[in-house]
Symmetry: C2
């Protein structure tokens, strides 16, 4: 259950003025007649998903659990790692001892120091590799895969390495598919009609989550619930689209949206959302700039700016109803720290009051519009629901600003310049 | 050595038009006659630093190394943890095996799940605590300290716990000082004339860095070099002030500054900078909004927005001249991934080209102004220099916009509302 509270940041009249437009765009989306409709596969993927592949995700994860793998490297960049990262961190938390296999993300930068240190880290550990790339030729993951595949083959031999490398790639073509076939790697499919930033619902996200130890059936339950809840083409009955309309209206006055969490383990979710929103909406000189914070940490950092600085942002605040663990504030007879007034409360009680007080301070005193989204629990099901909510909302936001939510022409520009300078054949 | 390249984002004429104003403000700062001058202690702290305390920082760190402590919790929020975090991550990197003691930051949020999991994590480990708080009553660290102190005393007994708790706090007053005296904790001083976000140069930052295994003498060498390099009151000969002037001019057109790194281990440095800039400059409805990214990771996330979205930001790009480790791109006879054109190059060579290509793509094609700052190495000395550079630059920026760089009145507003709701005595 996701609860959207728009906190009166826009009037009913403003909201309703978008009803017809949203309905028209939503119907076009459902009929796959909207711009970029070749990439709408994520919308009903959960209903069309091929069961044998879901079974295989769980089976190969189990195989890795049973073979005492310590670490699995997820080699991918952009949507090829951020969704799994968001899900695993959200559910398992920081410093968790619940992960069945430690997941380390690599090939998402071109830092030699980063590559080197991660290689060193597994010197005395058993590791597997999940290489995630539709083409197999994207520079960052391709470099990392060359280096890590080499290291694994030297460590355990070519044959055993083939059992420890899993390729998530195109069904029919590409360099990684060829290599995977040649070496008999286990394979998962990146569907053609789902772009990277929407792909956490496919084996791109699901397989690393399963290996970490997440319950993938519950994740799919969340995706199904999300599908039912946010498929409506009526603005009145679709919270995801109401959130989209609010963003479009607020963006007329505020260029930045700050996504705020109150749980440190939701930091990766912020990063996932920034790609989803930024790449889908930031084009043709338009779009909301996505930024993020984790409170109360960042109330002692960005807090001053938000409260009292330039009025350029609105906030979308996510809170969780039930924390994974709670702790009672203990009594201390000396009370030197003056905290005894909190005895009887839990830490989560205080976090809740910090949230409601900050929302008031920022919106009423600071005049920063605040939207509030509450979800049930940091678990697989809620993650699935949130993924659907934000995917729908971001697609609708882009459509409302007359953009194609599913392309990213700007990302190619630095790549082309880089390939020319590096003298890549063909550039 | 820090090299500032303004890339012609502003003209000489514009820069020179600030010469007199900068000189006047800089002289006032040197004479401690500027606004907020009670908090200018950071400016020449390195020259006035009391040697016995620096010796004690190293000695107590050594004691912890020799007593086989696995983990030290740094309990603090805002500037009480972000500086140490930035320094340790920058120098040691992610997944490093160089840390002598694992440093874990806690009490920088009010997440019960976060507290619980970190407590669980040390169930079978030997841990110490460095509680960092001027007053000892700041809500987040005070709650965490109650809980972790309790856990440590239950684990090793009250007497041994006293040997494993180090308090960094006010010299003369406050709850934490009283408690530290009562329990004979080792103590370090937070100077009165240095605010939290400038305090990484004091034992607030230096002690956790020393415990992690950083060389504090080299850090102080960097601070000294930085002091000499950026003390000039002339704009012509002071890069930190030239950077400040550039920011002020760019901010007239662009509300957001994006700090960009090309090394994942510089992520914490971004977070440190965001507090430094945001709290110092974001007030009275003014100030640049500080945001951050790590490339090339975020070229596959925020990249599309930066290249092609709303024109609301300028970038400040930090790069490192010499990586801590480098790796040659290995040959692969099959060349299925098409990377053989890179053989002979190192990963760092490719990262450098990614940087120069992206700078061109963003500034020339995307019309996003780019400032470039290059530093030598991700080591203690460069960290010290960078700290001085940005501290000077941010103070000057705030003065140029007629703000007091050293207060943060906006941070109190949510706190006051929270204390009222929690019925804290006196509110």
């Amino acid at each position: 259950m996701i609860k959207l509270n728009l906190n009166n940041v826009i009037s009913n009249k403003e909201m309703n003025s978008y009803s017809k437009k949203v309905n028209k765009l939503a119907v076009a989306m459902e009929n796959k007649e909207s711009v970029g409709s070749d990439f709408l596969g994520w919308k009903d993927f959960v209903n069309n998903y091929n069961k044998p592949e879901l079974y295989k995700v769980k089976k190969i994860a189990e195989k890795l659990h049973n073979s005492n793998v310590d670490v699995m490297f997820v080699i991918g960049i952009g949507g090829s790692f951020s969704g799994a990262w968001a899900g695993i961190d959200m559910v398992q938390g920081n410093y968790s001892n619940k992960n069945k296999v430690e997941i380390i993300y690599v090939g998402n930068s071109i830092s030699s120091t980063d590559l080197y240190q991660k290689l060193e880290y597994v010197k005395n550990k058993k590791f597997a590799i999940n290489i995630i790339s539709k083409s197999g030729t994207t520079t960052e993951p391709a470099i990392a895969f060359r280096i890590f595949k080499d290291a694994l083959e030297k460590k355990v031999g070519k044959k055993e390495a083939s059992n420890l490398i899993i390729a998530t790639t195109d069904k029919n073509k590409g360099a990684l598919l060829s290599l995977a076939k040649k070496n008999s790697y286990e394979r998962f499919v990146v569907p053609d009609n789902i772009g990277g930033r929407f792909s956490v619902i496919t084996p791109v996200g699901a397989f690393p989550m399963a290996v970490a130890g997440l319950n993938i059936d519950k994740f799919f339950d969340g995706l199904k619930d999300g599908y039912e809840k946010y498929k409506s083409t009526n603005l009145d009955s679709n919270d995801a689209y109401q959130y989209a309309v609010s963003r479009v209206i607020l963006n007329k006055k505020y260029p930045v949206e700050l996504m705020v969490q109150y749980e440190p383990q939701m930091n990766a979710f912020n990063e996932w959302w920034k790609q989803l929103a930024g790449e889908s909406e930031g084009k043709d000189g338009k779009g909301i700039m996505p930024a993020s914070a984790v409170f109360s940490t960042d109330l002692h950092s960005l807090g001053q700016f938000i409260q009292d600085g330039s009025k350029i942002m609105f906030e979308t605040v996510l809170t969780v109803k039930k924390p994974n663990f709670d702790i009672k504030i203990p009594m201390d007879d000396s009370n030197l720290d003056g905290l005894n007034y909190l005895v009887g409360k839990t830490v989560q009680d205080v976090n809740n009051v910090a949230f409601s007080s900050t929302l008031e301070a920022h919106s009423l005193v600071g005049k920063v519009p605040n939207i509030h989204i509450e979800f049930d629990k940091m678990d697989e099901k809620s993650f699935g629901e949130l993924v659907v909510f934000f995917s729908r909302a971001v697609a609708m936001t882009a459509y409302l600003q007359d953009s194609n939510p599913f392309n990213q022409p700007g990302v190619e520009i630095y790549k082309n310049m880089m390939f020319k300078k590096l003298k890549k054949p063909g550039y």
